[in-house]
Each structure stands twice: as structure tokens, then as C-alpha cells.
């Protein structure tokens, strides 16, 4: 079913998708003329396929559960923020805070993502085929952040237990973020992700793994004088 944002207003489109009529066997939608509108496909909770044809604004596919949403264009700030499950695929570039605070699901970005990609992520898996901007993975807690290109300044600053895999150059590491050894299990896991994102030309072995030194978030009695 085609939903034209030039003819139907955004709120109606979102309401229709948020309250899917289960009696009708309609689970494939395409949205045309998004024209940079904000919060398109926010708050979907059912299994369905939505294909957005064009560039979108802020918070596209926010809070997504179960839905499979593809954006055939660029996305603004906070794509798939607080996603719980499902899949969001951006075919263009993403602005800042992609996948922010997301608990689950898969976010694939074919282009670049700008600053703070995966900020405070809590379990989502994010695969960026291009590069990410500064402070990506900031305070990230769980999940996997995979970047096929480069990473900007202060990667993984103050992170907890997120695994970060970067293939290109890292401009600098943030506080408490260190490079870690790639074991067989990591290569196996990463290979799976590359397969999921249909990345055939890159080998998991060519990535470097980063994670927390675990010195910042555990209370250390030696530091008592600093409090």
C-alpha cells in the first residue's frame, strides 16, 4: 500500500501504521514524498515492511519494535533512537545520534553516520558501511557498533560493555576506551554481522576491536579521595 505524505498528513500515516488492522492482511507499505518530515514511522509495534522513498527528518523509526523499515535516502538526527527490536536500513547518510539509546534490533546505514552514532546504546547492533563522526559510542552500554570506514575523535568515550569494531582509522579513543584483542569468537560474531548486512568484500579479520578498560565505571576504593 502506498502512502503519499503530500496527500495524507504525517500524523494520519503514523497512526495507521501504529494501529495496524490485523484483519486485513496488509503488511507492506511504501511512503512517498517524505520531504524531510520528522518522526516518520515512530512508534511502530508490529511486524511489517515499510519502505520510505526519499529523505527524512529527525527521529525516523524511533522506538521501533518488530517493524522492518527501509529509508531510500538520508536521515536526520536520531534515526531508530530507542529502537527495541526490528530492523532499520538507511540507504543514504545519517545525521547525528543514529541509534541513540536503542535497546535492540538492527540498524544498518549504507553511507556515513555523523557524530555520536550509537550514543548510550543499550543492546542494539549498528552496522555503518561508511564512517562515523566524533564521540560515537559515547557512554554506550551494550550491543555492537560496527564501522567499515573511519571513526572520529573520542570513540567510545566512557563506554560500558559495548563491542566496537572499526575497519578504518580511529582519530582518537575516548576516556576508558581501549583496543582489545580479536579472538576467534569475535571474528565469528563479526563475520555473521557482515553477512547480515550483505557486506561481501570485507573480512572480519581486517577490523580492530575496541571496548571498555573497565576502569571508569567500577567504583575503586583507591579513588576515594577524588570523591
Amino acid at each position: 500500500m502506498e502512502l503519499d505524505l503530500k496527500k495524507i498528513n504525517l500524523r494520519e500515516v503514523n497512526e495507521k501504521l501504529q494501529n495496524l488492522d490485523r484483519k486485513q492482511n496488509q503488511r507492506d507499505f511504501s511512503i512517498i514524498n517524505p520531504e524531510g518530515n520528522h518522526a516518520i514511522c515512530a512508534g511502530l509495534t508490529e511486524e511489517m515492511n515499510v519502505n520510505i522513498k526519499g529523505h527524512v527528518g529527525y527521529y525516523c523509526a524511533g522506538m521501533n519494535q518488530k517493524a522492518n523499515i527501509t529509508i531510500d535516502g538520508n536521515v536526520g538526527t536520531g534515526v531508530a533512537e530507542n529502537m527495541m527490536s526490528g530492523k532499520v536500513h538507511v540507504k543514504g547518510n545519517a545525521s547525528q545520534s543514529a541509534g541513540a539509546t536503542a535497546h535492540g534490533g538492527l540498524l544498518v546505514i549504507d553511507g556515513d553516520a555523523s557524530s555520536r552514532c550509537g550514543i548510550s546504546m543499550k543492546g542494539v547492533d549498528i552496522i555503518v558501511k561508511g564512517s562515523v563522526g566524533h564521540m560515537s559510542g559515547f557512554m554506550s552500554q551494550s550491543g555492537n557498533l560496527i564501522v567499515c570506514g573511519d571513526a572520529g575523535e573520542a570513540l567510545g568515550d566512557s563506554l560500558y560493555e559495548t563491542n566496537i569494531y572499526i575497519r578504518g582509522k580511529v582519530k582518537s579513543l575516548g576516556a576508558d576506551c581501549i583496543e582489545k584483542k580479536m579472538d576467534k569468537k569475535h571474528i565469528k560474531k563479526l563475520s555473521k554481522f557482515l553477512k547480515v548486512a550483505n557486506i561481501k568484500n570485507l573480512k572480519a579479520e581486517s577490523f580492530k576491536r575496541y571496548g571498555s578498560a573497565r576502569k571508569l565505571y567500577n567504583f575503586k576504593v583507591d579513588n576515594i579521595g577524588n570523591y
Binding site: E35, G36, H38, G57, Q96
Partner: protein, 294 residues
């Protein structure tokens, strides 16, 4: 919050529709800044002539026109709502001095060989209508919709700010060291008409440009001297430049085609531009100066 927009035309194709393009962008950015709006349009230079963009405030046009006779020689005076554009071949220093001295209630919005600036309080859609922005043609233009934070909602508190010949600046963000900087710049002879932080940044740019620095050098230097959050679009006679602070919290998106470069706070402001879907669309990286035509 505030919304900023700009278009630089690479070819002559859209010169007659520049005003319409900019107007649509400003109206769309009304959601980011409902308090006031303003725009600067750069037109082709007319031989040796200077244009003065003035806001008459409460002074009537007739009275202003009558009193202006004999003060200095002007070739044309054009009324547009509460603004006027005065054209003159006289020395700009002399003209500006006379206007400041004789017409206390008139605000000088800007001057130069190419620039025309209009700004006023009110919703952007009403402001662009009032000045009939859609009818303007030109080579490039910059606009701003304001959500006031730093100073009062007045004409003087609206953007764009122009503190030098054919220069202007619009800003989304806020500066924290503008009072110190204002004091320093005043010593260098830069005049300020408001308490606004952006006017200080505009003065900072003018001050550096007048000491023979290029726009790119000036903005690079600004990364160290201007403390705060900002996305700037700064216009000159030949083009414009874009700079975001290194933290990069304030948004900007650029769309470039063979015919134009457009910049806006949000993509939706550009969604109606011709062929935008085949444009190269990207986010300017923080701390990097992007410029066209300069």
C-alpha cells in the same frame, strides 16, 4: 533553536527565482524560530553605487524622504514596508555618519554594493510576505528565523547582522564570551547596536576581514576565539561560507547541484527546491569551513 537558510547560485538559471526559493525555505523554518525573521539578498553590483538598507521604525517614509534631500546626493530611494533602500554614489563613511547623526530613530540594517537586508519581528511567513521576498532576484541569499534566547525580540535583535560592507551573518546557537569580545572589538572601532551575541560574531568577522584576512582564515581563527555553540552562514559580495563549532550540536545540511548550493538547519526546508532529490546532500563536518564563491 533558530533556523538558518542560504542559497548560492552557481549559474544564472535561477536568479529570477532566488527570492521565491529563499522565501519557501524561511517559511518552512518558521517552526524553529517564530519570533522574528530576516534575509539578505545579494544582487549584481551597479556601477560604483552603494545601497543602504535602513529600517525607518516609526518614522514615516515621506518625512524621511523630505529630510534626506540636501543631506547627501542619492540616485534612488525605494520603500519596502518599514524598510528603505537608498542608493548613492557618495562616500559610505560620510553617508553612514549623516544617517546616524540626523535620523536617530532609523536603524542601519546594512550597506554595500550588492547586499540588501530586511528583518523584522513577527512570524517568518508574515515577515517574508511583508517584504515581498518572493519577488526578489539575485545571485545568493541568506535568511534566519529566530527563537530569541540571548536578547530581546526587536528589529535590532533580529538576524542577519551586517557590520561591514556587503557582509552579513546568521547564527543558530549561542555564544558565551560575547561580552568580553564586544569590549575588545569596540576598542578597534566596531560599532554595535544591540546586546546580541551574533552581532559580536559579525563584528569579529568584519574586524578580521578589514585586517586583510580572507573569510576562510577569519572563520578558522574564530574556532579559537568564539566560545559557544554555533552554525554560522556568513555572506560576502561573492558568495557565502558555513562553519559549525567543533562540538557540532547545532544542525546543518547542505544540498549541492550543478545550479546551486543550498544550506538549511533541516532538510525539510530544502525539500521543495528544484532537483533536490538528485542533489549531493551532506552534513557539514564540525570545525571545518565550507565556502562557495569566495
Amino acid at each position: 533553536m533558530c533556523g538558518i537558510v542560504g542559497i548560492y547560485l552557481k549559474s544564472e538559471k535561477f536568479e529570477s527565482s532566488l527570492g521565491k526559493m529563499l522565501s519557501d525555505m524561511l517559511v518552512n523554518m518558521g517552526s524553529r524560530g517564530p519570533d522574528s525573521a530576516g534575509f539578505a539578498i545579494y544582487k549584481k553590483e551597479e556601477d560604483g553605487e552603494y545601497k543602504y538598507s535602513l529600517c525607518l521604525n516609526n518614522l514615516s517614509f515621506e518625512k524621511f524622504k523630505n529630510e534626506l534631500q540636501n543631506k547627501f546626493s542619492f540616485s534612488d530611494i525605494e520603500e519596502n514596508s518599514d524598510h528603505v533602500i537608498v542608493k548613492s554614489k557618495d562616500n559610505p563613511k560620510k553617508v553612514l555618519e549623516i544617517i546616524t547623526r540626523v535620523f536617530k530613530e532609523v536603524s542601519i540594517v546594512g550597506y554595500g554594493k550588492s547586499i540588501e537586508i530586511f528583518k523584522q519581528v513577527g512570524e517568518p511567513k508574515n515577515v517574508v510576505k511583508k517584504f515581498n521576498l518572493e519577488s526578489f532576484s539575485g545571485t545568493h541569499g541568506i535568511g534566519h528565523t529566530r527563537m530569541a534566547t540571548e536578547s530581546a525580540i526587536t528589529t535590532d535583535g533580529s538576524h542577519p547582522y551586517s557590520t561591514g560592507e556587503d557582509e552579513c551573518l546568521v547564527h543558530n546557537g549561542s555564544l558565551s564570551n560575547h561580552n568580553n569580545l564586544r569590549r575588545k572589538l569596540k576598542k578597534n572601532g566596531i560599532n554595535f547596536n544591540s546586546e546580541n551575541d551574533t552581532e559580536v560574531a559579525a563584528g569579529y568577522i568584519s574586524n578580521n576581514l578589514s585586517s586583510k584576512k580572507t573569510l576562510k582564515e577569519t572563520l578558522k581563527k574564530g574556532l579559537n576565539d568564539l566560545d559557544g555553540f554555533y552554525t554560522f552562514i556568513t555572506g560576502t559580495r561573492k558568495g557565502f561560507a558555513v562553519l559549525r563549532d567543533e562540538i557540532g550540536c547545532k544542525p546543518a545540511v547542505i544540498a549541492e547541484t550543478d545550479d546551486y548550493v543550498a544550506i538549511a538547519s533541516e532538510f525539510q526546508a530544502m525539500a521543495h527546491l528544484p532537483n533536490v532529490n538528485s542533489a549531493k546532500i551532506f552534513e557539514p563536518e564540525p570545525g571545518i569551513v565550507y565556502s562557495w564563491g569566495n
